[in-house]
Symmetry: C2
Subunit: 347 residues, 2 copies
């Protein structure tokens, strides 16, 4: 996975074709299609129809250059993919199905037409993976930075919806996949960038093959569509759910607060890969901090009545039970597994 | 209407309270409420229910500092109001009713908490005027510039929907209100800013009282909810509709192209106020250019069978008939009223 380099031979300035031609180019973009869409790109507003007995839902994300991504190490198609992941992940997190996307992009002059197309390529790949359709949005100029905002719209049978506020005392707390790998990937990318900057006169080629897993988790995280499908297939419904975008403890806190409960997490149960541990060791950092506070993993946290655990495991097993909901309102505790319990204070 | 000045005595830096406290502050914001909203701010995604027999619709806008607004002359509550106008105007433009908004804001450190609250104050005022509810979104940091993205979601009985692509030959072309005043207001604001910059050591107080109408049209344009209500009340449906955000000719071109037709506009019929003419005279510019190409007026352009005109005028009369759809595909013509016909080439 090479660093992103602005290629000179394939660089068509946007002013060369003009903004209105660029918009035409992007509007004629022929991406993934959905039956629900009555009117997509090409009018003032998009129009869509829900199936009978369902409700609609929506979520929105904004990514800014320099804040949410660094173009020196973010391939632009990955950026396109990632913001779609972030938006649809919020739809999955209420146990609904994303259907369409509105995409706003503000593009600085330093970007070429090809670069913008790369972003759309990533958006398109994500649309295929999540089976959603781009139906509209706004494309404008920007002075300094690239800004992308994506609104995902979806639908679900009303009875399927799962909010954050319904976790019960003694519910088990589950998380999918592994945690902390996205921040581990970011640490590697930032280290390589620093080295690249320091040696900028030499032909420095960063070697991240040893870190492929964590770098991929940072650059192209995947939303847990498979978990939602497993809930549908099993007929099992968690009591509360949230996607882990801010970090495990921040997102668990949101569930605990909304449900009027506390939570206790058993630290040794947190799923952390060897790749992530290796990065933390190299950086001389605490891998638990990556897992607890890292964010951007886009894994799912859900709470469930304990007796349902075994049955659900038969359908879906890429998750770990990491703790229990408690009756101590707003108290988040970490049990270290060595007889110590730490009170977590997030602010 | 004084210029916007960053007040020192009411400036609380965002880092003073931290981003998560700011987000809490904004999430607890108690704005306009709608019955359709099942779940608003406070979960991963917003959930809403349409009335029976209706379809949902959505539109999205992004505004960037330095591109869409200049904070030296844009009061922040006006900015909040204006982006809501831009988003709901697109919903009205398909003859639907906006219901809710998702608001993404990326805030640079140079902004104070009070400034962000001003933006929300404007959003809230617009929500009341258009009867929509803020239901979610994303609040993040930004390095240099303020970026706001608003997605409006709405609904309509399916039979009411009006697209751009259904204008018929010989249909009359109508526009609400007046055109060119928003660009006239911008001209004044830019002139005053220049003077203010040149005399920055003196205590320069720009006097824009003589230009109140045009400046207001630039800073706080109002979407034409009243037109949509008139269509409902009269039972009359135009053949095609678009909101005039890009400029009369650009938006008329979109209708003509989508409908596979051409259009001829009678220049003396374009509604232009004396205030706008006065600005153009002062600037030694052609007022017709303001009206034809200015943009940001957020008036509505609609096409209609001529025989319906009289009946519709009885219900609603803030519009002018400015021309007719023709069978010359993609040809836009301006009849000057002095025996001359100009072919318009937009690219």
């Amino acid at each position: 996975m090479p660093f992103f380099v602005m290629s000179q031979k394939n660089f068509q300035e946007i002013k060369e074709i003009g903004f209105s031609k660029l918009i035409n180019k992007l509007s004629s973009y022929d991406g993934n299609k959905r039956d629900e869409i009555i009117k997509g790109i090409g009018d003032d507003a998009v129009v869509f129809k829900d199936k009978e007995g369902t409700v609609s839902c929506a979520s929105s994300e904004i990514f800014l250059e320099g804040i949410h991504f660094d173009v020196t190490y973010t391939p632009l198609h990955h950026l396109g993919y990632k913001i779609v992941t972030a938006a649809v992940s919020d739809i999955y997190a209420i146990n609904a199905e994303p259907v369409q996307l509105l995409v706003n992009i503000a593009i600085p002059n330093k970007y070429s037409v090809q670069m913008v197309e790369q972003i759309y390529k990533g958006i398109d790949a994500a649309c295929k993976d999540y089976n959603v359709q781009v139906t509209g949005g706004d494309t404008t100029a920007s002075h300094q930075i690239l800004a992308i905002s994506v609104t995902a719209l979806g639908s679900a049978p009303k009875k399927n919806l799962i909010y954050r506020n319904n976790a019960k005392i003694e519910d088990i707390i589950c998380v999918t996949g592994d945690l902390g790998s996205a921040i581990a990937g970011l640490r590697i990318l930032m280290r390589e960038k620093k080295e690249w900057q320091e040696r900028s006169t030499e032909s420095f080629q960063p070697d991240i093959t040893d870190y492929e897993y964590v770098v991929k988790r940072q650059l192209i995280p995947v939303a847990r569509k498979d978990l939602i499908e497993a809930f549908q297939k099993s007929g099992i419904k968690p009591t509360a759910m949230i996607d882990i975008s801010q970090g495990l403890m921040a997102d668990l806190k949101a569930v605990a607060e909304a449900s009027g409960l506390g939570a206790e997490v058993y630290s040794p149960a947190i799923p952390i890969t060897l790749d992530t541990r290796k990065v933390a060791d190299e950086m001389k950092e605490d891998v638990d901090k990556y897992a607890f506070y890292g964010g951007e993993d886009y894994e799912m946290l859900f709470t469930m009545r304990e007796p349902l655990l075994e049955k659900f495991r038969e359908i879906f097993d890429d998750f770990a039970v990491i703790g229990k909901m408690t009756n101590q309102y707003q108290e988040l505790k970490i049990n270290t597994g060595e007889g110590e319990t730490i009170q977590v204070d997030l602010n």
